[in-house]
């Protein structure tokens, strides 16, 4: 028999896990742990990072760094969401579109964001647009592929039923295909949010003076190691936070789906 009072509170174990990681980090960096393959000799300690973070927060630079990065990520992500869902619906619905569009997209898919940099600079008139394009490439494919998968997985009987109830092709797309694919699209949007942040540092290597990715890259160039970790943690937290927001919004948009899974 298991008493419910023996179960730890919900956040206890995740919280302890995070604290354990920080303690390990502290010990490894303070005692310059060297395992041969990995070495903590040059890794800044949590305390140094906290000091650096404090400096960034109290400086006037944090806000422009944040707003530049957020607007780039959201512009790139927004464009990826529109295009990914739009093209995904067409590819999933029409076999011809699949043969026309999917092969070139499959070739572009494995190209990492960093490899896009030179071409992005050449293609786009401003460095701002090139940076938005890089975050766009990060978000596009998870959204596109999950949309295609969602559309293809829609129950054919529901489509047949809708046709028998008088739905024309456009109504079928709007009333059956889109809501039917919605759970998968939202999965794609959540993953795409994360991958869009992945590409931020790469994007902001291009140029500029503002942005968390730029801050991280610049800190490496001028050897301010604690600042690198501050930048990394900021990107991690912002990426996690925005993915979480997408997830919550998704839950709100498809209440029927979560209900069905719990039944």
């Amino acid at each position: 028999m298991r008493g419910t009072f023996l179960q730890p509170p919900k956040f206890l174990i995740p919280g302890l896990s995070l604290i354990a990681c920080v303690i390990f980090w502290h010990l490894a960096s303070t005692y310059k742990l060297d395992l041969g393959l990995v070495s903590f000799v040059y890794v800044p300690s949590p305390y140094a990072v906290a000091v650096a973070a404090g400096e960034l927060v109290t400086s006037s630079k944090l806000l422009p760094h944040l707003t530049s990065s957020l607007s780039r990520v959201f512009a790139g992500y927004g464009a990826a969401a529109l295009l990914g869902i739009g093209i995904g619906l067409f590819i999933g619905r029409w076999k011809l579109m699949e043969s026309v569009l999917l092969p070139p997209l499959e070739v572009l898919r494995p190209i990492p964001a960093v490899a896009w940099i030179p071409l992005a600079i050449l293609i786009f008139p401003s460095s701002e647009l090139s940076m938005i394009f890089i975050t766009f490439t990060g978000a596009l494919f998870p959204i596109l592929l999950n949309t295609i998968h969602g559309v293809e997985a829609v129950d054919k009987r529901l489509v047949a039923s809708a046709r028998s109830l008088g739905a024309k092709p456009w109504a079928i797309l709007r009333e059956i295909i889109l809501p039917g694919a919605a759970p998968s699209i939202i999965t794609g949007l959540t993953i795409g949010m994360g991958t869009s942040w992945f590409c931020l540092v790469t994007a902001e290597m291009i140029s500029g003076q503002w942005g968390i990715g730029y801050y991280t890259w610049e800190s490496y160039l001028i050897q301010r190691y604690p600042d690198i970790v501050v930048g990394m943690l900021l990107i991690g937290i912002l990426g996690m936070g925005s993915s979480f927001l997408i997830k919550v919004a998704g839950r709100f948009l498809i209440p029927w789906y979560h209900l069905r899974r719990n039944v």
Binding site: A160, S164, L165, A167, K168, W256, Y257, L259, R260, V263
Partner: protein, 280 residues
């Protein structure tokens, strides 16, 4: 209730054949079938699993194309699917993202009826199938019998002149099936549309139908056209009468005589395919 304004269709099939599958897997599911259905008749198509009776229904709905012969509804060849030929599937096809009343009102939305009128008519139809009070539920919150009631209501709101039913009560338990059969007859008594009801359950066919078309195993052919003359309205008592037993024995004989190997079930949409696998 303006459902009474429904017209009902006459159906005729001559030398009708339907092939399913592609290439080497292509086979004849329905072979050289002839029949006539008068306007307002309640027809049951009775046959073993996989005999092509659902295929025939799919062709009437317009989801499948005949490969030979003619299939006419009110003198015109069946084109694509349409709201005048309502279709009820064995497993409900309610839209999981719409609650009960919006599912029922879907056909009206497709016709451009405004929302308040849609809801009002959907309320009336839900009353007809005995589901008032469940308007705001999601389909997944209903029992199997209630889901089929919603499915029927959703089709009836379009006033179909031909009601096509593919073993609609096949997945329900015996008690519930009996209730739904009586409900269907009660509704049909009021709206008098033409019904084509596919089943492999002999009792169900005799209890419901004016006429039973008995089909052979694949390739499906019609091997008997039986009249059922029990007075209407019918109640559950009728199944214990000697005449009912006599008809039942006759049907059993026909089906036993034609018994072959068991075939996989076909659907009105053709050959059932496996659900696509998830990819990440």
């Amino acid at each position: 209730m303006n459902a009474a304004a429904s017209t009902s269709s006459a159906v005729s099939a001559s030398n009708l054949s339907i092939h399913l599958g592609h290439g080497a897997d292509r086979f004849e599911a329905v072979q050289n079938v002839q029949f006539n259905i008068r306007s307002g008749e309640f027809i049951c198509i009775l046959g073993p699993s996989g005999c092509g009776k659902s295929t025939l229904l799919g062709a009437l709905a317009g989801h499948l194309q005949p490969s030979g012969g003619q299939l006419l509804v009110d003198g015109k060849p069946v084109g694509g699917p349409g709201p005048d030929r309502g279709m009820v599937f064995q497993q409900h096809t309610l839209f999981p993202w719409r609650n009960v009343i919006d599912n029922v009102a879907f056909g009206l939305k497709m016709r451009g009826v405004n929302r308040s009128q849609r809801l009002q008519q959907a309320h009336e139809i839900l009353q007809l199938v005995g589901l008032q009070g469940f308007e705001r539920r999601w389909p997944s919150q209903l029992s199997g019998g209630m889901q089929q009631r919603v499915e029927i209501a959703r089709v009836l709101i379009n006033h179909p002149s031909l009601l096509l039913m593919d073993e609609p009560f096949g997945a329900l338990d015996a008690q519930c099936r009996m209730e739904m059969q009586q409900l269907l007859l009660e509704i049909w008594g009021r709206i008098r549309t033409t019904v084509v009801f596919v089943t492999h359950d002999i009792d169900e066919a005799i209890f419901l139908a004016d006429r039973i078309l008995v089909m052979s195993p694949r390739p499906g052919r019609i091997i008997e056209d039986l009249r059922v003359d029990f007075a209407r309205p019918r109640d559950a008592e009728v199944v214990t009468t000697p005449e009912f037993m006599h008809l039942k024995r006759h049907c059993l004989e026909l089906l036993r005589h034609e018994q072959g190997r068991a075939l996989p079930r076909l659907s009105p949409l053709g050959i059932p395919t496996a659900e696509p696998q998830a990819i990440i």
